[in-house]
């Protein structure tokens, strides 16, 4: 800002100096045009303020140094008075118009920059999506064949030895499939190419959907769901959120003894004056070592003897963060609880009416 005014002053004195040298050749009147020519570049280059400064000071300078009697502000000739005034007005108008051109150009340029950036972003998003899709296709197509054949063999195998081998094959293929899914999830989330497809979700209904879908992992456990007093709604992408809860449920099942209870506690909680929907998933066993409560959400953390890449909880944390929520873990008295907090979504009044029984 200051720089613009300074450059305007420097330019003014330069113009004045050149004009002063030209007086013997052009006469004092024609030099006025020299000043006028100076206003335009100042207005376009430096903006309105510097241009007005230039116009005012140049009118005064012209009067003081150029128009006889020199070195006074008084003017002998009435024609010169008119000229000086006209000059001042024209210089002002030129300054204003010039600065308009400048600001207009700035807006255009900013708009163009933004458009370029968006186009670039969209391009990279598209590229990433295409790459992910083809990787996904390449990894999953052979898995389809493997799992299909394994299931077929499982169905027809007669001898105990073969069925044992086939069972191992099946478990391995399924584990590979899970790893592929985790890797693809992780890369999708960390690419920034993830667009949330948000809608309003009834938390208690949604958690039941998650549990129903995770049925095959939970068949050796008792799952209890404790509903909140009043229905709680959150806003989110159901598919992506489900990935997070599926990971938490799978952990709860894997790290607790068979036949034990997994409790899911849904409630509304207030933290830092914001209302949050809390989902607490508690299982017995599998203590988180004290001091590791944060580290477990880091990349590649895995318990000794644990299976997998250690991406599950990273995915959980990233997904919850995308939904402006938090996740934490704690072990007390042999029970491990993962607590997910998500911002509560208020239903509009019309919806509340719609949900009433008619």
């Amino acid at each position: 800002m200051l720089k613009a005014y300074l450059s305007s002053l420097v330019f003014l004195f330069l113009t004045a100096f050149i004009n002063y040298l030209l007086i013997p050749y052009l006469g004092y009147r024609a030099t006025g045009f020299g000043f006028l020519v100076g206003v335009l570049p100042v207005a376009v280059g430096c903006g309105l303020g510097p241009a007005l400064l230039f116009a005012t000071l140049s009118a005064l300078l012209w009067d003081y140094f150029f128009i006889p009697p020199q070195f006074t502000f008084s003017i002998q000739n009435s024609e010169d008075v008119m000229m000086n005034l006209t000059y001042f007005v024209v210089a002002l108008v030129t300054g204003i118009l010039g600065s308009r051109i400048q600001s207009h150009e700035k807006t255009l340029k900013a708009r163009e920059d933004k458009a370029n950036r968006n186009a670039l972003l969209e391009e990279s998003e598209k590229l990433h999506q295409t790459l992910l899709n083809s990787v996904s296709h390449e990894l999953r197509t052979p898995l389809t064949t493997i799992l299909g054949i394994v299931n077929h063999l499982d169905f027809v195998s007669k001898s105990p030895e073969t069925s044992l081998v086939v069972h191992d094959l099946k478990v391995s293929a399924e584990r590979l499939n899970q790893t592929v899914t985790n890797l693809l999830d992780m890369s999708r989330i960390s690419s920034g190419a993830l667009r949330l497809n948000q809608s309003v979700i009834d938390l208690s209904d949604f958690i039941r959907t998650c549990v129903a879908r995770a049925d095959y992992m939970l068949e050796n456990h008792h799952v209890t769901i404790l509903d909140p007093k009043n229905a709680i709604y959150v806003k989110g992408d159901e598919k992506i959120l489900e990935t997070a809860f599926a990971n938490l449920l799978s952990n709860a099942a894997r790290y607790s003894p068979e036949g034990s209870e997994i409790r899911i506690d849904l409630s509304a909680s207030t933290s830092a004056s914001n209302e949050f929907a809390a989902v607490k998933i508690t299982n017995s066993g599998a203590n988180i070592p004290a001091g590791d409560e944060e580290i477990i959400f880091g990349k590649f953390y895995s318990t000794s003897g644990g299976v997998g890449l250690g991406l599950g909880l990273v995915i959980v944390r990233e997904i919850v963060a995308l939904h402006r929520g938090t996740v934490s873990a704690k072990t007390t008295d042999g029970f491990t609880t993962f607590n997910v907090l998500l911002p509560i979504e208020e239903l509009p009044d019309q919806m509340k009416v719609n949900l009433q029984v008619v």
Partner: protein, 230 residues
């Protein structure tokens, strides 16, 4: 045993095609395969299959393009196979005339079940007015719903959702189709809250038994829609 149903598999991966051929032949389907979209369209014209399994990731034509061409004359069921995580393609295929979808890697028994449902819907348009499904008794004429023998009161919207899903029993119904059928073509404002309505309906359909919950009766196809099935 009625005459064998004819299946056309349009899939570029030879191993997947062979695995499916083996599995389907065992279930007494007569199978033909095609490795590209163009070939698939051609074979479909000569072979006149009862059902088509269409891979969405074909090298020559996009699955959507193949589907569009097929649907100009082919009215029997099409089930799409996809390895893609993004739901856009699946939803586009379903809204573009596919009957159902399975995501790779899929279980063959699930695929077989989807095929049976699609074929059943195509063979006879069931016009029944009352259904008894597990613990549910639904009377479409009197608009009455019983869960485990006792009446449940549904709002008009909940009832309409149930009716649309019931008419498509076993088949996936996309969010868009459901919105259109329940609220009419200008239903965008309900899109945000569709899950809330379905959640409320499922709550009313919950049973005392642990064996079947509302969530298992009306299943969520995440990011796609819903499927009613027991």
């Amino acid at each position: 045993m009625s005459k064998a149903k004819k299946v056309l598999i349009i899939e570029d991966d030879p191993a997947v095609a062979r695995m499916l051929t083996t599995a389907l032949s065992q279930e007494n389907y007569e199978v033909r395969t095609a490795v590209s979209g163009k070939e698939g369209i051609q074979v479909a014209q000569d072979y006149r299959p009862s059902i088509i399994l269409l891979d969405l990731g074909l090298p020559d034509l996009g699955g959507a393009q193949v589907l569009l061409t097929l649907r100009q004359w082919f009215t029997a069921p099409v089930i799409v196979l996809t390895a893609n995580d993004s739901d856009q393609d699946k939803v586009a295929a379903l809204d573009g005339g596919a009957d159902d979808y399975v995501t790779k890697p899929f279980s063959v028994s699930v695929l077989l079940a989807r095929m049976r449902v699609a074929l059943r819907h195509y063979d006879k348009v069931e016009v029944t007015d009352s259904y008894t499904l597990g613990p549910y008794e639904i009377d479409l004429i009197n608009r009455q719903v019983k869960v485990e023998g006792s009446f449940v009161k549904l709002t008009a919207t909940e009832y309409d959702i149930l009716r649309v899903l019931l008419r498509n029993y076993g088949k996936v119904v996309t969010h868009r189709t459901l919105l259109k059928e329940v609220w009419g073509p200008n239903s965008v404002e309900h899109h945000q809250y569709l899950r809330v309505y379905v959640g409320q309906l499922r709550k009313k359909l919950r049973t005392g038994k642990k064996s079947l919950t509302g969530e298992e009766f009306i299943q969520t196809e995440l990011g796609i829609g819903y499927r009613l099935q027991i």
